[in-house]
Subunit: 397 residues, 2 copies
Amino acid sequence: MNEEKKPIQMHPEPQFAPPSVEEIQGRIARVQTRMEKEKIDCYVTFSPDNIFYLTNFANLIHERPFILVVPKSGVPRFLVPKLEVPHAKNRVIGDIEIVSYFEFPAPAGETWIDNLHPLLSDGTRFGVESVCPLQIYEAIPKERVQTDIIDDLRMIKSEYEVGRIAYACALATEAHNRILAQARPGLTLSEISSEINKMMMGQILSDYPSTNILATRLIVLFQPGSVSDDPHNYTNVNMAMEVGGPHVSIISAVINGSGAEVERTFFLGHVPEKAKRPFEVMLEARRVAFELAVPGNLMSEVDRRTKEVFRKSGYEEFILHRTGHGIGVTGHEAPFLAEGYERMIEPGMFFSIEPGVYLPGVGGFRHSDTVMITDNGNIMLTDGPIQIEELTFPTTV
Amino acid sequence: MNEEKKPIQMHPEPQFAPPSVEEIQGRIARVQTRMEKEKIDCYVTFSPDNIFYLTNFANLIHERPFILVVPKSGVPRFLVPKLEVPHAKNRVIGDIEIVSYFEFPAPAGETWIDNLHPLLSDGTRFGVESVCPLQIYEAIPKERVQTDIIDDLRMIKSEYEVGRIAYACALATEAHNRILAQARPGLTLSEISSEINKMMMGQILSDYPSTNILATRLIVLFQPGSVSDDPHNYTNVNMAMEVGGPHVSIISAVINGSGAEVERTFFLGHVPEKAKRPFEVMLEARRVAFELAVPGNLMSEVDRRTKEVFRKSGYEEFILHRTGHGIGVTGHEAPFLAEGYERMIEPGMFFSIEPGVYLPGVGGFRHSDTVMITDNGNIMLTDGPIQIEELTFPTTV
């Protein structure tokens, strides 16, 4: 699918510097090649992640639109509010024309729509993203084609991107190991989250003082055994680690524009009898997912056969989510290891591999790692203990 | 415009508890009344802020859609991923039917679109928001009408909402005063931001331990004089306060689902000669904005006449933004005090009032406060020193 780009194969060297002009130009050229195939004159992107990927400029979505227009050839034009022009100039890499509008709202003749129209004058067939907001969609002339070209191209990483993700994974692994090293009954979510956040942010800013904070989001969490059967339950930031388990620890990070995820199921003092079998079934599902997450396999099939392990063990009703998701400039993106997602795995893709099972009254069982697909198989870029013995810690540190 | 709801007038009592069932039911009833007027059978909302307003459930946008469908009468239906059902049940207030889909992506027949369609079966004329993503828009049958009913209704606050914003404003003011109290040359952005964030989060969690972290976002910033002429320049988190100024301090917060903003222009040791006139011009613009931000005035007119002060002083080219924005369940939303925004100010609205001017090589000049429109005028819910003498601090604390 992404025949335009050669994937890497070796074990990556971590790095955190911004992309080179050549790296950014290569991305834009690949978008334009794809546009040509799809007979699109002009591609309009609003997604902050896609804009970041093509420009190195990160913004948060708010009422003042930022819109990047990629013509079929030549230089992309980036529409930003006047207030953000110096910020855009500071971050944008390579040859991108910055065009501004005064403000949102603005008087007739000076609005973002008035300033968008001239940028679209070259084309008659426009590509728009599936996340394009209706008000931007309506501002684009017909013919409009819904196509996620940038999201598609983001799936296969360059050697440079692999290095960036490797850096994020190394830091996420170090932070996650610190959670495990301190685990003890009574340690609260707010205590550990605040400490590990501070450690990570300190490291990031010391490694690269110009880190883009708008492209940096750190999630540091755990769930104790009493709530881990409900994997999105974080309503009480004062909840504490408990004797027993299963606890689930979570680092899900975007570090200066590169994602990483690592999670473990762990116990304090002892493993409750009821938790032993689901833990082993989860490990077996994880083993199957790693075995199948290799080039040439269908993503839907990886998910189906991984879930088969849970189904055969009588846990079908306790499956709450897919086997994994893509990782790139965000921590959570396409492609997906999910039934219904009929795409082939290719070298250069990254996934979380995180089959999980959630037994009410027993708890949640899930390890997650960030995994790179290579020509021959896959490599785990995060790390941590895996077996139940390694993940059962004493109740005093 | 919002004739369905009676605005409050008295000075509000701060509160932080979640809305009552009656409060939520009142909001839904007002949406349905408006739908009737616009002849809409079914209103589809995707905006997390609008969903939070109608349900008390907050989520972050990611690839798994959350969609609330409001019928012209009866109970709204809330489509969420299966994984989030317990979370939704934990937060949702009042009578809202929760419907789930298994996962994104999912096999044909089980996708979010398959599960959305039955929720739309009652209607033939659908209301959709201007921020509705194209993929959700395309999943809604025709006829589709773009209308921002919930955003419109959010503009006028109930007595309960006023109390929530008053709480957020009191905490923002306290935090902001701490920045000013500690101001000294050499204090870095990362030091003060980390300390004040921690103080605010500690207070919030002690006041209300079940605070919704997904509806809580704290921005604690300042700019020293050397960069304050570029008001969105925060590329260096190690930048430090300096002798002189103008510095600009910023607290922009959403606290458990209520916004607040307070900002001041301040100096350390002395006021540079070149900074004196722009400061006084900014104060005069601010005075005009407060005088005009009263019921019955057009928002565009408030902005135009406020900017007139800058224009008459020869600062027209140094205006970078509008006079103010609305505040409610977010810190930045409609309505806007902006030229081109032809809407009347009404009692019960909230605005930031923050006219600013940015002189290259001199610095940025802006105070911001959160202001409630009353029947007779307006009340500032944040607080802080205003005059240049009060805002010139010694260089040793």
